[in-house]
């Protein structure tokens, strides 16, 4: 379904180059829900943008259904972290959800049906006429999710979508994602920096190293499919997996794709203090 092969991304700047992604290879099967977790600043967003066709990789490729991704592919929807900046402030909720559908020319009736349904499943049936800025952060992110749902994507990419909402809303939204995934049979890649979230949500968790990034571990989450905030999170297996991922992230902070220090390609994650003591 979704193949990432030898993916590398180097940002070329005026004074220095930053290698964000070193060499990433993984595969996501159709209908899977995979979480991607890593230490902060490890290039998660860069990876997601490469996969969404919004950023061209330096080397390697992303394939969707066997076809290389050169630009944003149809059938893929992205939900960004900054809900406040990804919704159109000049459109009401309904138009925000409907806009991407216009291009598909589905006919008025079908379009209305999709929008109504999408807003209903995210729990916003009574907010059609509201403007995004009249809603709370969690509700705004629900609008962004509804827009993705109405688009009927085969793949849903989510870039730390709940990083900016409060803990209670976050738990609700996590369950919403599980529910939508079950109902729609869509393939989901969920990027997060939250270890609990990475364990709770997915069937698999890809743990990334720090930048320049490689896949440090591909972990199967063998929790039962039926999950809920109370019981799943208090189960012994959840605690084990959580501890394991936590350990891996701690390790990841000191490991990267660098086997030997490269004098040309500098590491973005090195703190200035560290550089001083080295020189």
């Amino acid at each position: 379904m979704l193949d990432v092969q030898d993916l590398q991304k180097i940002y070329t700047g005026r004074h220095r180059n930053v290698e964000a992604l070193r060499n990433l290879t993984f595969h996501i099967a159709e209908g899977e829900l995979v979480c991607l977790v890593g230490p902060s600043g490890c290039g998660k967003t860069t990876l997601l943008k490469c996969m969404a066709g919004l950023l061209a990789p330096t080397r390697g490729e992303v394939r969707l259904d066997g076809r290389p991704v050169a630009g944003p592919p149809p059938g893929m929807a992205v939900v960004f972290q900054e809900y406040g900046r990804s919704l159109f402030a000049w459109m009401n909720v309904r138009d925000n959800v409907a806009l991407p559908l216009r291009r598909k020319k589905l006919g008025k009736a079908r379009e209305r049906e999709l929008v109504d349904h999408a807003l209903e499943v995210v729990g916003l049936s009574d907010a059609h006429e509201a403007y995004p800025w009249q809603l709370s952060g969690g509700m705004q992110q629900r609008v962004a999710i509804a827009r993705a749902v109405a688009y009927e994507p085969k793949v849903l990419l989510m870039d730390e979508p709940f990083a900016a909402v409060d803990a209670q809303t976050r738990a609700e939204l996590e369950d919403l994602i599980r529910k939508l995934w079950h109902e729609l049979g869509v393939t989901v890649l969920f990027v997060t920096h939250d270890i609990d979230e990475a364990v709770y949500l997915g069937q698999r968790t890809l743990i990334l190293s720090k930048s320049p990034t490689v896949v440090q571990e591909d972990l199967t989450i063998d929790l039962p499919d039926e999950r809920d905030q109370l019981h799943t999170r208090s189960s012994p297996r959840f605690a084990e997996l959580r501890a394991h991922v936590y350990e891996q992230i701690q390790r990841a902070k000191h490991h990267s794709g660098d086997t030997a220090p490269d004098p040309v390609v500098e590491d973005r994650a090195i703190e200035p203090v560290l550089q001083k003591t080295e020189s």
Partner: protein, 260 residues
Amino acid sequence: MTALSVLRRGLLVLGLPAVLFTVWWFATAGSTDFYFPPLATILESFGKVWTAERLLSDVVPSLLRLAAGYLLAVVVGVGLGLVVGMRRAVRDVLEPVLELFRAIPPPVLIPVIMLFAGIGDTMKVLVIVSGCMWPILLNTVEGVRAVDEVLGDTCRSYGITGVARLRHLVLRAASPQIVTGMRQALSIGIILMVISEMFAASNGLGFTIVQFQRSFAIPEMWSGVLLLGILGFLLSLLFRFAENRALAWYHGLRRAQRNP
């Protein structure tokens, strides 16, 4: 809005003008100065001069030229602003030239424009365009350049490109800035409307005022100045009304950001 707050607003808006008029009235009452006649005399001549016939023959042509020049400036300014704002290469090439043209005061261009556009309405409209265009153009460029990156990515990932992107994203996102430019352009437009009519004109508000001045019809001249002031006030009121409708989302967004 309650009736009381409407009254309060009305008092705030009309308070200072009322005071100024009162001061003017008493300061000039019984004035024998030929150039500063009593306000009573000016008001009296106002009624006599600005008859329906006069409004039709002099004020309407002025306003039509203003409307034509202003709308043309909006079309050219926004159109060019979109291109310049979205294409870096175009911006690099055009910027020095635009800065040069912007620095030339439009009244200076009147004799030049006369050379190729004659002394008719075309000349006057072009003078208005040459002044109104700049604030609209420059604000549009700034607005287009400031379109949010995440919103841009959102559009791309949903395949909203080309004309749809221009219409639903770029123009709307830049609209608060464009409106700012249009507001500045409106006052420039009114000034240029009058100035362009002081050269080689046969009708219009500016022409009439200069005509009165040259024939020493001083109260009549003052009544023309007064009418200009009132027109400017009404036009800005109209503008504010249109702006509040078109940018209701923006004002709401700003309020929401101020009190989260």
